[in-house]
């Protein structure tokens, strides 16, 4: 595989692996938020603020799961495209050699094929670029969502300290949510870095 195409495949599979882990974490985040919400409701009026925050986490966690799902499909298509493009690049390179070696009435057909596959490859490349920018947007959406969860988690910890009952439990639950959120953010950042490295290498 030529360096360019293998890099494309590597970006796609790296992001896909990271996002898979993020998705697993987002699921546990959704469960933690449901637990927090249940405890807060049981406590009643004193923890009403927390219950509202918890339902908010749950909503964000679910939309993160969906987003991670979509990114998974997207990275799958990107990896497939990278391989197809690699095959076309290989063919293109071989046909170029044939044309350099031989020129007669029979090679006109090879010339035709050569041009056809070149066009095909360019169209694949433009789809690839479009999918990559979609991926970039989705990753920043996801990061924004996670950052809002992180902010709310800090507020939840403060709310927890003000509850009369089960202070410690509530605090720990909120802290757990905060930690999970941070791990998800780490995976998203790593995916974004991977994209950045790919683009900076592609420019060289």
């Amino acid at each position: 595989m030529k360096r360019g195409q293998s890099n494309q495949t590597i970006v796609a599979v790296t992001v896909s692996g990271r996002l898979f882990k993020a998705q697993v974490l987002a699921r546990s985040l959704s469960i933690s938020s449901k637990n927090l919400s249940a405890v807060a409701i049981r406590i009643g009026q004193q923890a009403a603020g927390l219950a509202v925050l918890a339902s908010f986490y749950d909503e964000l966690a679910n939309s993160t799961i969906q987003l991670a799902n979509k990114i998974g499909e997207l990275t799958g298509s990107i990896a497939d495209l990278a391989v197809e493009e690699w095959k076309l690049a290989l063919l293109h390179q071989h046909l170029e050699k044939v044309l350099a070696l031989e020129h007669n009435e029979n090679t006109a057909y090879i010339q035709e094929k050569h041009e056809y596959y070149e066009a095909e490859r360019n169209s694949k490349l433009s789809i690839f670029n479009r999918l990559m920018s979609q991926l970039e947007l989705m990753l920043s959406d996801m990061r924004r969502q996670m950052q809002s969860i992180s902010v709310i988690a800090v507020n939840s910890k403060i709310e927890a300290t003000q509850a009369a009952d089960k202070k410690e439990l509530l605090f720990n639950m909120a802290e757990d949510i905060e930690k999970t959120t941070d791990s998800i953010i780490t995976h998203i950042k790593a995916s974004q870095n991977c994209l950045e490295t790919y683009y900076s290498e592609a420019r060289i």
Binding site: K87, L90, L91, L95, L101, I110
Partner: protein
């Protein structure tokens, strides 16, 4: 890549391609063959992916791509058919004839356009223009599903890895002195061919054929006399030596 016309009679031709000086040193030198009859052409053991460009450039010196309607792969080895994924993109209506046992394996080289004709163990016959070509069983020599191709008009037996010798790219095209050539074939046949039973079975089958040229996928081509000497030598040779 060099090409040489082995047989020409009207529109009926056998062309051998090989002795490729541009090939990387560490890959084994191979002979590829083109059979033409009327306006139809067939490539026998089209070769590895590394040889695709010089091979295609040489082939179009003789026929146009539209004429190539058949490919043949004697067995599944990469030196035989790893170029398939590239041929698949440049041939619009072609069929690959190959042992049924290898279909699921050979498809890994990439086949979107080319059809697979799975050859049954007992062999088969196909028409190329007005010519009838025969796929002669040569199983376990060395591959467990393996065929030779026999042309009864040109009297050419394409023998795949049988009769193969590992030689320099500047080696002559024909066997001149059998005794000295045998040294170059001995280890290959003993180590790569697994079965004495299969060997004897094949010898008895091809003894019946009228052969002017035995054309292997590696090394030199055997004319009638050398072919008979080869059968005699091979019959006595103990094969499958990696296990005692």
């Amino acid at each position: 890549m060099k090409s040489h016309k082995l047989y020409t009679q009207g529109s009926h031709q056998w062309v051998v391609f090989g002795r490729d000086e541009s090939k990387p040193d560490k890959i084994i030198d191979t002979n590829q063959y083109l059979v033409v009859n009327q306006d139809k052409a067939m490539l026998l053991d089209p070769g590895g992916i590394e040889l695709f460009s010089p091979m295609l450039a040489s082939v179009v010196k003789h026929v146009s791509l539209e004429q190539i309607e058949h490919l043949f792969a004697s067995h599944q080895d990469p030196d035989i058919i790893s170029s398939l994924g590239l041929w698949d993109q440049v041939l619009d209506h072609a069929t690959l004839h190959s042992p049924w046992v290898w279909e699921g394996f050979i498809r890994h080289f990439g086949m979107q356009n080319i059809q697979y004709n799975a050859l049954p163990d007992e062999g088969a016959e196909i028409a190329l223009g007005s010519l009838k070509l025969r796929f002669v069983p040569a199983h376990y020599l060395h591959s467990s599903g393996n065929f030779n191709v026999y042309d009864p008009v040109a009297k050419v037996l394409f023998s795949g890895d049988l009769g193969a010798a590992l030689e320099a790219v500047d080696a002559p095209l024909f066997v001149e002195d059998f005794a000295s050539h045998a040294d170059k074939m001995k280890y290959f046949h003993q180590r790569w061919m697994p079965s004495n039973k299969a060997k004897l079975d094949w010898i008895s089958r091809v003894k019946e054929l009228d052969v002017d040229f035995m054309a292997p996928q590696h090394g030199r081509i055997f004319k009638r006399e050398a072919f008979l000497e080869f059968l005699e030598w091979f019959e006595k040779l103990d094969v499958g030596i990696a296990v005692s």
